[in-house]
Amino acid sequence: MSFGSWRLTLCTVSTLLFLSVSTLIPLSNAESAVPQVLNLGNGGEPKDLDPHTVTGVPEFHIIMNIFEGLVSKDPKNLEPIPGVAEKWKVSKDGKTYTFFLRKNAKWSQGDPVTASDFIYSWIRLLKPETASEYAYQGFYIKNGKAFNEGKLTDPNQLGLKAIDSSTLEVQLENPTPFFLSLLFHHSLYPVHKATIEKFGARWTRPENFVGNGAFTLKKWEVNRVITVAPNPFYWDKETVKLSEANFFPIDKHETEEKMFRAKSLHTVDDLPLEKLPLWQKDTTGVFKNHPYLGTYYYWFNCTKAPLNNKKVRQALTLAIDRDRIVRLVTRGGQVPATMFTPPGTGGFKPESRLPKDGSQIQKAKQLLAEAGFPNGKGLPSLEILYNTSDNHKKIAEAIQQMWRENLGISSSLFNQEWKVFLDNQQTKNYMIARAGWIADYNDPNTFLDMFVTNGGNNHSGYSNSSYDELIESAKKERNPKKRFAIFQKAEDILLEDLPVLPIYVYSRNYLLSNEVQGWHPNIEDIHPLKYISIVKK
């Protein structure tokens, strides 16, 4: 076949293809209503949709729409608003909460949601057999911890009481000022007893599923799509505009971004770092950027030389230019972490204690000399451990370079596959390890109780008794002002001892189609589908 005829064939074939495709797709009628179907990129494939056993963010995005807790959150200002509970009251000592459930709250097959549903669910959360990784969210409930650890086997000893079918009384261990905020967490959502007892582990399959959210599970094809549709029995179903929402599990951010550009998605879960500069120039308004409740940092292993030396840790912390990292390396609107708790967590605004930029390099040099390593002489080569990811790699490379330039010290980088990395981190088999902490709930406690002596997530081996006391006392303090003052003291100790090297406060960078209405960017990244609708642009 000659080249010309080949090209002709190609043209013919592509024309035919085009014709057949265009006849397959029905022409949308401009007059007809806009289809209310939302397509979302949702990160990884959900492990499950059982509120008590899941841990991930993709799961939460779906679960918060197909279940509803006692208290909801206003997506605009993140204030607690009535959910299943119409109203609530708190006792004087702050240890007893009484929730008044709305009468018209219903499960997706029509049963009413009652106080005993919540008791059943919270017992399930705490039961050892459930093996819930978020069981500690129930430890604020009286005797919750003991019950979970099996020291107590009678669920009646838990601080839970159904006064009547629509009144629930909850007793807490301590006055927990952020308890209402906690109730939005999926681990404290109610689940349907009869369904679970009937179907066991398979109750979250769409054919078996019963929930109480504004939406209910319609379809779940693994690694393909999870579809939710409005719950016909939802008490506030008039607010719901969407007829369907599709959560697409997409592992790669690059793929998501391309699907968004091809208009297959209304929003993406995250953007690849390298695409940020391109989207930041976008003028159509689809690019969204806002701070996020999380801190990116490095662990120092305080149990091994030379990082058991506080001055070395201080020198390393002061020697990096956080501003250059966020401005030139990550470039996603992150904020240099001059503290550990992200500013604005539960209203708490910690003081800056670390330099934003490289202004204290001289001091860093001096500290290093005081530690006995003038100009880095004698300091063993440091090892930075990170889990395999291009972003972590880039940041580590930049920090490695800053240490070399500013302090004259050498370090090597090690990337490890995720589980190996976790293993090494948790067995303290590292010198410096990359980490990130995203808030479980909107309160400074979620960040600061990590560093208590032998804390489960304290991988540095750090221990300071006055710090431990401060965190313990904050749990009992009800006055917000005094409480924040305690947290500030804790922050000060933390940033003096530096078991961690705070780098930046996370930001969210994503894309949102202009057709989506009722989506409010917020620090917790909560976007209930209930308020969302589609308009044609």
Binding site: P272, K394, F414, N415, E417
Partner: protein
Amino acid sequence: MSNSLWSDAWARLQKNKLAVFGAIFLTLEILLCVLTPWIAPYGFETQNLELTLARPSFAHWFGTDNLGRDLFTRILYGGRISMAVGIIASLISVVVGVIYGAISGYVGGKTDTILMRIVDILYALPFIFMVIILMVYFGRNILLLFVALGLTQWLTMARITRGQVISLKQKEFVDAARSVGVKTRYIILKHLIPNTLGPVIVYLTLTIPSVILEEAFLSFLGLGVQAPMASWGTLISSGVEVMEIAPWILLFPALMLSLTLFSLNFLGDGLRDALDPKGARD
């Protein structure tokens, strides 16, 4: 193999322009790789955060990457790694494969059956699984990873050698050696292995590219060399991410990799034709 056969082959090889081009290119490249520390215009880890993703210019011939490092320098250093991986891993696969195959083919019988069945089994193991196991155990040691890469490649080499040895075994000179009482080990080392070298050399030129590609695949999974050192594989996979913003970051390393693999292929084809004149009639 007689000297004249080698010199005949050499003469034929010289007539093949593409093969000569390949050989020259590879020689130049190896030279560049060896001399990299002296000729590279910048350090491979020297960053310039104010000049990230710069276009190719006089100061930076191939532009800069996303941390403002000179891409030309990084390609030179990356070439060192990739070529080293290719050569070391291939040599390992040759040594293991040739010895294994030669023993299997020469001894024959039950031994042959068992040895070849083992090869069959290893063939059936999904490569990716090996990779993840290797990643878990050897993640921290790049040299061991090279060895591991070589060890995943020796199977084909063993099969080729075995086939070659079996066909040579029936030839007169082996019988002659055997009839005068030469030891098996000596026959394998002195007669059979040298005579299988032809096909093995050809296959070697094909193994090197595939090992280089495997390293790239590992790099894509985050398993290759440790940053900030780079191989062509890591350079390419990070180039893919910025291809819409700075296509040259993908283009140059991909070009270098392709040219190298082209050269190896040409050289391999040329060697095959040279060593086996029967097939080179066009």
